[in-house]
């Protein structure tokens, strides 16, 4: 399982967000450049449609691949009471033939994206990852160098944390608590719940930039 929240921030405020995150996390950022391919099963394959994502980490000297399967969000009264989305997620590192294999099995490319930005990985009540990235689409198949931002001037912020299936509450609480520190700059919510940019972002960003950073909390 994983706990997830998302939000958006204007590109002009990303530097301020980075300063805030640096202070909160106490670790250095890691560059992020991931080619994400979303594959879906052909019409005759499986009793229902299935989807799998192939992630190619382009930041490494040798590109490395991961296969990821994300399940549907947890539902019910328990899910509605928590501010983060909880969903099944399974990942597997794979060698470089994954795309060929899935094509041969009857999967088709539905869409592909390029995510470029940075990530913070840290421990704060849970193993949390914050990614800040520009999401771009490709005008031609696999044309990474020609990728264009889906939302120019806006970047996606994602906070995720793995959680055991039988006890996700603590992780959800840790993620939720951490997100409160980011509130002046952006609002984070469950994926699919649109909130837009926060009105205090500009002032908060200006404060962070003028202070030259915040002490580690």
């Amino acid at each position: 399982m994983e706990c997830v929240v998302q939000g958006i921030i204007e590109t002009q405020h990303v530097e301020a967000l980075e300063i805030l995150l640096q202070g909160l996390c106490g670790v250095h950022k890691e560059p992020l450049r991931t080619h994400e391919l979303c594959l879906k099963s052909g019409p005759n394959l499986g009793l229902g449609a299935s989807e799998v994502r192939l992630l190619c980490d382009l930041e490494q000297p040798e590109p490395s691949w991961t296969v990821r399967h994300v399940g549907g969000a947890m539902r019910g009264a328990g899910a509605e009471q928590i501010s983060v989305l909880v969903r099944p997620m399974v990942e597997s590192k794979v060698s470089k033939n994954a795309l060929r294999l899935f094509y041969a099995l009857g999967y088709k490319l539905d869409h592909e994206l390029l995510r470029v930005g940075f990530a913070f990985h840290f421990q704060r009540g849970a193993q949390i990852t914050v990614t800040v990235s520009t999401v771009s689409k490709m005008p031609k198949l696999h044309a990474i160098e020609e990728a264009e931002p889906v939302t120019p001037g806006i970047q996606l912020v994602e906070v995720t944390a793995p959680a055991p299936s039988d006890n996700y509450s603590e992780v959800a609480a840790a993620v939720s608590s951490f997100c409160e520190y980011l509130a002046p700059l952006l609002h984070l919510s469950k994926p699919g719940v649109s909130t837009g940019v926060v009105p205090t972002a500009a002032a908060a960003a200006a404060s962070l930039m003028s202070d030259g950073g915040t002490p580690i909390l």
Binding site: G46, S50, V67, S92, V94, L101, A104, L105, G106
Partner: protein
């Protein structure tokens, strides 16, 4: 990692493999002063597609295999022989395949037995049995040469060892012999430097040969 050759037992025409042959083979290793070690076990699974319409089944691969190897307990290997594709993955890939519900396990076979040390060589003698069954469907022999990882550089010494081994087995007048299949690993995108992906490809090839042998035995019986 050290390279290995995976040999399989090829029964003479009209005969089948059985536990007695397996026992003789094990005794042969021990007679060569092979120091018996622990047990080993690998598994191979055939997957078939789950389709809404069976009419189009030819569009999907019939040779989709998954393999877990004793030497790599945290990895899983997928192979499509017809398309010369091999994939190494974390074991969690099996969970992903279950969740996708597009392919399901059809037949599962275990390769299991004991390993032996003979100087710089490590041998694994194993029976091939369907999961949840004790019927011996085949015999495999892994010959691993520990000092070397290069397939080409080790070729001569491996051939010499296998010749000695074949001679030792032939003295027992068993109804068959061990075979080593030459594989073009380059077609799978694999290099001269040996890896567990090479082992997975060898097992897939051995299985294809075992199936062909069983099918020809059945055909002979019918004729």
């Amino acid at each position: 990692m050290p390279l290995k050759w995976v040999l399989h037992w090829q029964p003479n025409a009209g005969t089948t493999v059985n536990s007695q042959i397996l026992s003789e083979v094990s005794q042969c290793v021990e007679s060569m002063n092979g120091a018996k070690g622990g047990r080993w076990k690998s598994n191979l699974t055939y997957y078939r597609p789950i389709l809404k319409e069976q009419a189009n089944s030819a569009e999907y691969p019939r040779d989709f295999l998954g393999i877990s190897l004793a030497e790599q307990p945290n990895k899983y290997y997928f192979i499509l022989r017809g398309q010369r594709i091999v994939l190494e993955a974390d074991s969690t890939i099996q969970t992903i395949m279950e969740k996708l519900q597009s392919y399901k396990s059809r037949v599962s076979l275990n390769f299991e037995g004991f390993q032996y040390q003979l100087g710089d060589f490590r041998l694994r003698v194993g029976k091939v049995v369907p999961s949840h069954s004790e019927n011996v469907r085949g015999i495999v022999l892994e010959v691993e040469y520990l000092p070397v990882s290069s397939l080409e550089k080790s070729r001569q010494i491996m051939e010499e060892f296998v010749d000695i081994w074949q001679e030792a087995v032939s003295e027992r007048s068993l109804p068959g012999h061990f075979m080593h299949m030459e594989i073009n690993f380059g077609e799978y995108g694999l290099s001269d430097h040996y890896t567990s992906q090479h082992t997975a490809v060898q097992y897939a090839t051995v299985m294809a040969q075992l199936i062909a042998t069983v099918q020809s035995t059945v055909q002979l019986a019918r004729n």
